[in-house]
């Protein structure tokens, strides 16, 4: 009997992704979080997509959101920059503080918030414009007083795309490959000098090599930005993130609703999760 348990544990241990995050390990307790989420409920009309989420997101850290499909990861991510406001009939309850201020306060403009919190979407969505204009358009509109050529070069360099496109900045963004388009979208996001970058499965449409480039880029950007990334790829979470939050679908109250099961340092979540569901998920026993 005891033998069996031991072998089961070693077996699951063997299938745990190895945590190889770049940089010094983060402390278990967060000192100065960028986001503090308290008791967040979210509704699409009458359908509750999130219930009672409590979370802190650390500055200059990469936080990975993992969990099975439909558990509300995208929904949660889009609450952080109030992008769900664009969808008619959505409702938020609870509280999200960003840099110490409640973001769902009516006096706070969502536009200003979104300038400070950039977003990269699951599928690359460059504007139907030139590579140059894709990056320059938002800083122009926002009235940033900068040398635009320098800014474009800087952002493309940071997004590890400059060498590939420096000769054809006036070409359409659609002439780029999917992976290049996604890096362009990252460059576009950092052009408005945000403090946070939200990424929703940024590499899901890309091949393994392009994925590695995006991951390297995230580790690189971590020095200056706080990154929150949704991923389906357990290995990816283990490779790049400092902390991991595991979401799951809960139907104990009769309806299927997304809940945050647990959050901790990526090392802790991947080696000694406290909840059985987390363990099952990361070792691939379900989901």
């Amino acid at each position: 009997m005891s033998e069996q348990t031991t072998s089961a544990v070693t077996e699951s241990q063997a299938r745990r992704p190895e945590v190889t995050t770049v940089g010094p390990p983060v402390p278990a307790e967060m000192e100065n979080p960028v986001f503090v989420v308290e008791n967040l409920d979210f509704y699409y009309g009458s359908h509750q997509a999130l219930r009672g989420v409590n979370m802190k997101i650390g500055r200059n850290e990469i936080t990975a959101l993992i969990g099975p499909s439909g558990c509300g990861k995208t929904t949660f991510l889009r609450c952080l920059n109030r992008l769900n406001d664009l969808i008619a009939g959505t409702r938020v309850r609870g509280r999200i503080d960003f840099a110490g201020k409640p973001i769902y306060d009516p006096s706070l403009a969502a536009i200003e918030l979104r300038r400070r919190i950039g977003m990269v979407f699951q599928k690359p969505n460059p504007f139907p414009k030139s590579i140059y204009d894709n990056i320059a358009i938002a800083p122009k509109v926002n009235g940033m007083k900068v040398n635009m050529d320098d800014l474009v070069e800087e952002c493309l360099t940071r997004a590890a795309l400059w060498d590939e496109v420096k000769g054809k900045l006036k070409a359409s963004a659609f002439s780029l490959s999917g992976g290049q388009q996604q890096r362009l979208c990252i460059a576009r996001a950092i052009a408005v000098k945000p403090e946070v970058i939200l990424m929703d499965e940024p590499a899901s449409a890309l091949d393994p090599l392009a994925t590695i480039r995006i991951e390297d880029l995230m580790s690189e950007l971590k020095k200056d930005y706080t990154i929150v990334v949704v991923t389906h790829n357990m290995q990816q979470a283990a490779r790049v993130s400092d902390r991991t939050a595991f979401f799951n679908v809960d139907d104990s109250q009769g309806v299927r609703t997304g809940v945050l099961v647990e959050m901790g340092t990526t090392h802790q979540i991947f080696t000694s999760p406290t909840d059985q569901r987390t363990d099952d998920y990361i070792t691939g026993r379900f989901g």
């Binding site: 979104r114 969505n125 139907p128 938002a138």
Partner: protein, 281 residues
């Protein structure tokens, strides 16, 4: 088995060809017969003389002037209303605007002409005039422009909206710098079709434009405007070979303007399709 499939295949293509012929044949035969009847009138004098002589220069210029007026009036108002419906309208204002747009779309063109006559020509004392004619034509084609603009904007992939919102771009800059430019080819092809419709209309103009044997002038009020469909209509009713040929020539010129507009619309719409196809969103 194979022969049966071949037969079905043949039948299918035969049917397609028949359908095509049924549509194409009348158009082609119409074009040929119009050209044939117009032949005696076609010559340099057709373009160098006005209807006072044996040409239709004044009517061609008048029609082009009316098209320009429609482009300015119906284009501006129609596109603005379409943008409003697609982006800003909600609740009651949307319902009201949509209702009026639908009523206008269903209004017989002769009624539009008649209303134009009693209000603009008579009540406002504008007389038969360029502005009255342009407004009557604009009212006729506006619903079409509103609809195509609205649809064009709604078809812009929502990920572009979200992308712009995610960068903190305000709604009006998103609209002006991303949505409208993306939708522009589709909006333009809608405008071109509206112009094509205007080219062939007679009813709204009968009561509003009047007619004149002189070239049109850039004067909004109290100055009658000659136009092609009027020549087609009136010269056909005159006795003799010459007026009939002139009528056919005016029809031919209208057809040429129409074809040019349709081809232009095709080119623009094709470009629009290529743009969105490349987006692969």
């Amino acid at each position: 088995m194979r022969t049966r499939r071949a037969v079905t295949d043949r039948l299918f293509w035969g049917f397609c060809f028949l359908a095509f012929a049924l549509i194409a044949a009348p158009s082609v035969s119409m074009l040929i017969s119009v050209a044939h009847q117009a032949a005696p009138a076609v010559g340099w004098s057709l373009f160098s003389q006005t209807t006072k002589g044996i040409g239709i220069q004044n009517a061609i210029l008048g029609t082009l002037l009316l098209l320009l007026g429609v482009l300015i009036v119906a284009g501006t108002i129609g596109v603005a209303a379409g943008v409003y419906l697609a982006e800003f309208a909600s609740g009651r204002s949307e319902k009201v605007l949509r209702f009026f747009s639908e009523v206008l779309a269903g209004m017989p063109s002769i009624v539009i002409g008649y209303i134009g006559y009693i209000t603009l020509v008579v009540q406002f004392h504008w007389g038969y005039s360029l502005l009255a004619a342009v407004i009557a034509l604009s009212v006729l084609v506006m619903p079409y422009i509103v609809k195509t603009t609205e649809v064009a904007l709604r078809q812009v992939p929502s990920v572009l909206r979200e992308g712009a919102a995610g960068l903190g771009m305000p709604r009006y800059s998103t609209l002006g710098r991303i949505l409208v430019p993306t939708a522009l080819p589709a909006i333009t092809s809608g405008l071109i079709v509206a112009l094509a419709i205007s080219t062939g209309e007679l009813a709204p103009l009968l009561f509003t434009a009047g007619f004149s044997d002189h070239n049109p002038r850039l004067q909004l009020f109290h100055q009658q405007v000659p136009y092609l469909t009027n020549v087609i209509f009136t010269d056909l009713a005159l006795p003799g070979k010459r007026p009939h040929a002139t009528s056919a020539a005016a029809a031919l010129v209208s057809l040429v303007i129409l074809i040019v507009l349709i081809v232009a619309g095709r080119i623009v719409a094709g470009r629009a399709r290529r743009n969105t196809a490349r987006m692969s969103l």
